[in-house]
């Protein structure tokens, strides 16, 4: 089986900004993204409240080449880390059909 080495970028944070991050990820070269609603607790307090949209938490995932992963992480850290409850990390993944993850 042919597998391709790519990066999985995961951004977890306030729902209110996550759609922006997903769209910006596409502009930076990602070919797609996955959004899912999650609950959890972090250094900026618990984020499990469903009553107010501002307190919801969303996870956004991209599978991208290394250069795009770096661009997304740079964008997220510069734009959101100061004021928003947002965390991001990158992990190595091996995927089938590698060409599907390259935008263009």
């Amino acid at each position: 089986m042919q597998l391709y080495a790519l990066k999985l970028v995961t951004v977890v944070g306030e729902t209110v900004v996550m759609e922006d991050i997903a769209k910006e990820g596409l502009k930076l070269g990602a070919s797609g993204y996955t959004l899912s609603e999650v609950v959890g607790q972090g250094s900026r307090s618990a984020r499990n409240v469903i009553v107010t949209g501002a307190s919801r938490t969303t996870k956004c995932e991209f599978v991208v080449p290394t250069d795009v992963a770096e661009k997304i992480l740079t964008y997220v850290s510069h734009t959101y880390f100061e004021h928003y409850a947002v965390i991001a990390w990158v992990a190595d993944v091996h995927v089938m059909r590698g060409a599907a993850y390259v935008a263009g």
């Binding site: 306030e14 729902t15 209110v16 900004v17 307090s45 618990a46 499990n48 409240v49 469903i50 009553v51 107010t52 949209g53 501002a54 307190s55 510069h78 734009t79 100061e82 004021h83 928003y84």
Partner: protein
């Protein structure tokens, strides 16, 4: 409609020192007792207790969201239906003054809140504007509880009050956010220059669009229009099943309100531990500001010709703080504002205060002012 000139009306209001006579105090206490020992606030209390003792109540998210949709649709639909009746009987004669007064209150309350928070409380521009946006807007659930209260006391509010709720929802958020964005723009530019980064573009337009097209406005205003149009143009027999579903003699609505308030109690209970973090000033603000705004609402409602129930409900919705529409808009526009402050004040202080004590107090204020 009774329209009294201001000066004549002012003569009906007792002098301030007589505000809390022993008799009035006992009436307020009786009203509080009548309100507190009813299912809606008691369900809220049960939610709080359950969270604090780590009890096992868990409302499924989908049920909570479905109930929110039903409540908003019901308020809008019945409001539109009643508005159509009012329109058929009196045209816009009875509605325009309360509508204008509500718009005025929607514009004034964010400014009074901002000034108090910024200059009495010494909070930052962003925090002051963020909290002011919550207090300038309204809470549809507080409206529903206030409306149930006045119905229980046999003083139903004027039929067009749901229209006033929709009028009150947006301007307060818009004004506070514009104020906050304008005043904090310079600070933000200086900070960005200091760290050598470009200034982050303002999301004000996007945030306001989100507010206007958000679920509460779309459902409430949308169903208001649908209720209004279908009452005017539909055959009454065909209309009846829709009316029966949304009105259901108040049974379905009040039952749903109990479940909703239980969930609100669970959420408010979680937030109670944040009270220590927000400090005594914000706790006092969350109680005293609604009383002041509530008084404005009751008094101006009376001047605009609302009845006793109408004045009470207008007082309650002006006094209430938004915790659904405002928070995302504030997060987008004023990211440096601390959301713990505004959400805790709106949800853990003002909302419980209004549900338990505020509504009966606004009712007594309305009686005291002379509303009938």
């Amino acid at each position: 409609m009774t329209t009294m000139p201001c000066l004549v009306l002012a003569g009906h209001i007792p002098a301030l020192p007589a505000v809390v006579s022993a008799e009035q105090l006992s009436r307020i206490l009786q009203s509080l007792e009548r309100n507190l020992l009813t299912p809606i606030p008691l369900c809220f209390l049960l939610g709080i207790i359950c969270t604090r003792i780590h009890g096992g109540i868990k409302i499924p998210k989908e049920l909570y969201l479905s109930i929110a949709i039903f409540l908003l649709m019901s308020i809008g639909f019945i409001g539109g239906h009643e508005l159509a009746h009012e329109y058929q009987m009196h045209g816009v004669a009875t509605i325009w003054k309360p509508a204008l007064v509500t718009l005025f209150l929607g514009c004034v309350t964010p400014i009074t809140s901002f000034l108090v928070l910024r200059y009495l409380g010494g909070l930052s521009v962003a925090d002051s504007a963020g909290i002011a946006a919550h207090y300038g807007s309204t809470s549809a659930v507080t409206y529903a509880v206030a409306n149930s209260f006045v119905e229980q006391t046999q003083h139903p509010a004027n039929s067009f009050l749901p229209t006033l709720v929709t009028i009150l929802e947006c301007p307060g958020i818009a004004i506070a956010l514009v104020l906050g964005a304008a005043l904090s723009a310079r600070e933000r530019a200086a900070r960005a220059a200091a760290v050598g980064q470009p200034v982050r573009e303002s999301k004000l337009g996007e945030a306001l669009y989100e507010v206007v097209t958000g679920q509460s406005i779309m459902l409430m205003a949308g169903l208001l229009v649908i209720g209004f149009v279908s009452t005017l143009f539909m055959d009454p027999k065909g209309f009846q099943p829709f009316f029966d579903f949304f009105q259901s003699k108040g049974m379905l609505f009040r039952g749903c309100l109990c479940i909703f308030l239980l969930e609100m109690g669970l959420v408010a209970g979680e937030r109670l531990s944040d009270l220590v973090r927000v400090g005594p000033f914000l706790v006092a603000f969350g109680i005293l500001m609604p009383l002041l705004h509530g008084f404005f609402g009751v008094y101006l409602g009376h001047l605009a010709g609302l009845n006793l129930g109408g004045c009470t409900v207008l007082g309650a919705i002006v006094a209430s703080a938004s915790y659904i529409a405002a928070p995302p808009a504030v997060r987008l526009t004023l990211p440096e504002a601390n959301p713990t402050l505004s959400i805790t004040a709106a949800l853990a202080i003002t909302f419980p205060f209004n549900i338990a004590f505020g509504i009966p107090i606004y009712f007594e204020m309305a009686k005291w002012i002379g509303a009938v």
